[in-house]
Amino acid sequence: MTDESTSEQIDRRKFLKVLGVTGGGALALSGCSTDRVTKLIPYLVQSEDQVPGVATYYASTCTECHAGCGLHVKTREARAIKLEGNPEHPVNAGKLCARGQAGLQGLYNPGRLKGPKARAADGSFQEITWDEAINRLADKVGAARGKIAVITGAAPGTFSDLLSAWTTALGGQVVRYHAFDHEPMRAANRQVFGIDELPAYDFAKARYIVSFGADFLETWLAPVEHQRGFAESHGYQDGQMGKHVAFGPRMSLTGMNADEWHAIRPGSDAVLALAMANLIMSERTGAPADANGLRGVLAPHTPEAAAQETGLPAEAIKRIAREFASAKPSLAVAGGVGNQHRGATELCAAVNILNYVAGNVGQTVNFGAALAAGDGYGSMNDLAKRLDAGEVTVVLVHEANPIYSLPKSSKFSGKFAKATFKVSTSLFLDETARECDLLLPGHHALERWDDARPRRGVTGLMQPVMQPVFNTMATGDVLLKVAQRLGGPLASISAPSFEAYLKTAWQTQVPRGSDFDTFWRGALQRGGVYGSAPATPVRLAPGAQQVGYHKPAFDGTETAGDFIFSAYPTSMLHDGRGANRPWLLEMSDPVTKITWHSWVEIHPDVARDLDVQEGEILRLTSPFGSIEAPAYVYPGLHPGLVAVPLGLGHTEFGEYAKGRGVNALDLLNGEAPGGFLPYLATRVSVAKTGKYQRVAKTEGNVRQLGRGIADALTLEQARSGVAPALAEKAGGHEGEENPPREVAALKGWREEQQEEARLGAYAQDFPKWAMVVDLARCTGCSACVTACYAENNIPTVGPEQILRGREMTWIRIERYYEGGESPGEPLETRFVPVMCQHCGNAPCEPVCPVYAAYHTADGLNGQVYNRCVGTRYCSNNCPYKVRYFNWLAYGQQAFREPLNLQLNPDVTVRARGVMEKCTFCVQRIRGAQNQARMEDRTLADGDVVTACAQACPSSAIVFGNIKDPGSRVARLASDQRGYHLLEDLNVRPSVTYLAKVLHEAEG
């Protein structure tokens, strides 16, 4: 709100009612019933930027991870209803990942703390007023005499500055704690280049990408930026296409998107990098001069030696090394959390060398950006020690949940408990907050003022886009109020509000020759100020000589039949912060397609040896603990590995997260040396419990049985203009063609049918909406699915319903395997986003007895919810099975207060007993048409963008009017890679898929 002063005075209960006014449609949940809002409550004061029925967009910054993507927050009737990427933002350029979009469910989470609380004598929490709360905090910090520690997960920015200033003024210590802090990378950069920062990686430029277990499409650094770049580099464009090779013990989503994935022995990847560097050095000159000093160091690491260690054939290593060197520029990345073994630092150093000798540093590896990072695991351990020693009496935890994200074996919670007064500003009652004495729930990022500096040169602004949902207070204001009360050392820190503090801080940034207000307004509109970081040229530091390789070490004594344990982060749950968002829990994991619970991945061979079926509950035991979870047989593993995803197994953190799944951290060594938490450094024994639990996955048949659903061409075929071979694939006739007579007859019949159809409504002057999906760009990240959930009020159904296959994903990502059936044959993964194909001859339409499914004049396959009686015949007759039935009033349980505030008022909330499906975002189409009509113009290409197309980080989805020859969609649909799903059925889909392009398999 631009005008806080007056609107603040509307009390919150009223505010919710105010939403009731025009958002009535959205608040009434019973969808297709005519129940109505009976009261009209007007705004007290009209805010200039809110017009009922018209969406207002505010620029802001995403705080779901430290990539600091820019946001456009869509608000209706003063409620945030959707998060989209900010096109002007250099990091994400208008795109947004699933986790970022689910930030909305953090804002409206039922598990949020509704106001300040303090622990009473009996240990329970009881509500207090903000004044009390601030007084207590002030008294305690006043009395602490410097024995104060602050654990903060906040991104660098003005608030963080205030926090440090505040703490240091009190003589306390600030620990910036990020669960995934990439310490090995920074250590390696110190060692090899003598620079302590995380560089920015330019995937778009790279022609050849080698990933040593860095999941850059999931959680590594800035996934959205990387995916954008990856799509640019790896997407097929006029005959050109980069190559991506992934090494690692587990095939993550990144590995699935690689042209080659090699399962190497866990922890042996450093020597691989060194061997490649060695080969490059020995075979070609042109490496930076100072690299020559490395020859000696690299000499012992021959490809053969590497082959020994990794289990890869030396030839493969040589080939990849040569390809890597010859592609200019190329890029090697390492340091993924899931691959943090004991030798992680060694690995990152080796990869630095590899990049350096290949001349990539400064090309695709750009120092100077200094990506946001914390103080690292080491300093957290130090703090733990100080807590243990009782050197700290007051702890303030902000946007961090160490008690969950540190392994139990680190005994952190015990040490934490030794502090006498513990304060949490968490929005939720998470594990750490549960241990605290004072809860000061802060505002959600969408409710408060702040800024973020994800990297040098980029500052994103956050502004309150709506009234706070609950009685919370921005922590910045808390700090200032405390300062106000205490004075003394804090006297220097004073501002009427954090907003004011922020503005003063920004005064310094005003460029010469412009006044603050215009500058500030401009920044607010653009979402921040975006410059480019000055590149910092780096040279090899003496430490570079220390690079080397040591055999991987693992906790636990090596015994027969045990496995290396991998705890890896998933793109949905990250470090566990996603676990209380229904969207992210229901969003099937892009790799395994499992929802709502934990699982243990085991290799098919191992499963055969141990006679383990999917769903059999396995007990994993390490020296540090043991967990039980159902087995999932996954071919993308090194046979010596078992893997469990991170992020679940919360003991607090709201109804959705609490008691769901297991916490993989329980098996890890919390006191491991080396300054980082090793996630791939433990041995576990696997025991069958004999218990079973059906795995709640959305996975169907993983083989496409040659039905030509996920089609692919080799690079050669694509270049030579071969169309995807559909005739034989799409089920019709084995190889041989129809006799010409039949072909002619079929063609004639089709035309006649279309002719007659025209009697109805394929009238010429209407547009025909169509979509193109480029499978060469799609990475299966599922951002589009979340976007669809947010845009179309799709309810989450929960694990029990998923077990019955009743998920409501209007757009789903199908993941098919190719090959991998005989030993040695590489396993290829293909992702196909499948939504309603809006067929011209839609089989679903004629079978509906009440015309609830019918064809609109503009080529949409219309679905009229309020006419539907629920015979479900349409779904039976849909070859793509993209129609979803609302079996049990899903809306009621999915959108309960306050989650219902996120509902999009432009879209009907479907009632129980009604068929629903992708509408090509018809509400956006009609909205754009209304707008165009108001402005007496016709729609232009790009006026209508569906939610999925808007979100897709790799821009694989394009939407538009296919009748307009100038439109992008029309051009792409005529691409020679284009094909339709199940084309032989002659249902004439409006969605064209562009076949994936494969590098010829070599070696």
């Binding site: 009697l759 109805g760 001859n841 064809h855 004439r988």
Partner: protein, 169 residues
């Protein structure tokens, strides 16, 4: 209850006797006979010289009406609010044949029954003498005559072989 019709009611066990009686009565020029049987019997029909019933006309008319209604309804309703489904013509006859057929049968059958009722009501049986045994194993013949001629009729029936003759007045 209408007032009883005067006449003579003869009850037979044997079919040939009954038919004989009928023939004799018709030879005498008696009209308005009513013959009761427990089941349809063509010998009786022959004796009475009955022509086949006009009920089939109702069936025909009903059937045709149904067929027309079927096509009319479907075609008109399709174009009344034209909606395109599955790229098929708005008013496509083939599927509508099914509905036309069903309505043909439905209205055809109903009108047949209606016809039977109407036709039966044209010859009301109220007031005619009746005996429960007629629905069992007896054949009844009722001759509406005045008291003056009743005697001769009784005699005729007896001679024909009636097991029982009753006079109604």
């Amino acid at each position: 209850m209408a007032k009883p019709v005067a006449g003579v009611l003869g009850s037979f066990v044997h079919i040939d006797a009954a038919t004989e009686a009928i023939r004799a009565l018709r030879a005498e020029g008696r009209t308005g006979l009513t013959v009761y049987t427990a089941a349809a019997n063509h010998e009786v029909e022959e004796a009475l010289g009955i022509t086949s019933s006009p009920v089939r006309l109702f069936t025909l008319i009903g059937g045709l009406t149904g067929c027309a209604a079927g096509f009319g309804m479907t075609l008109w309703m399709s174009v009344d609010w034209p909606l395109l489904v599955g790229g098929k013509p708005i008013a496509s006859v083939p599927p509508y044949v099914v509905l036309a057929f069903e309505l043909t049968i439905l209205i055809g059958a109903l009108s047949t029954v209606a016809g039977t009722l109407i036709l039966s009501l044209l010859k009301p049986t109220t007031g005619l003498a009746y005996d429960p045994s007629f629905s069992d194993d007896r054949i009844g013949i009722f001759v509406p005559v005045g008291p003056e001629q009743a005697g001769s009729v009784e005699r005729l029936l007896k001679t024909a072989g009636a097991v029982e003759v009753r006079r109604e007045d």
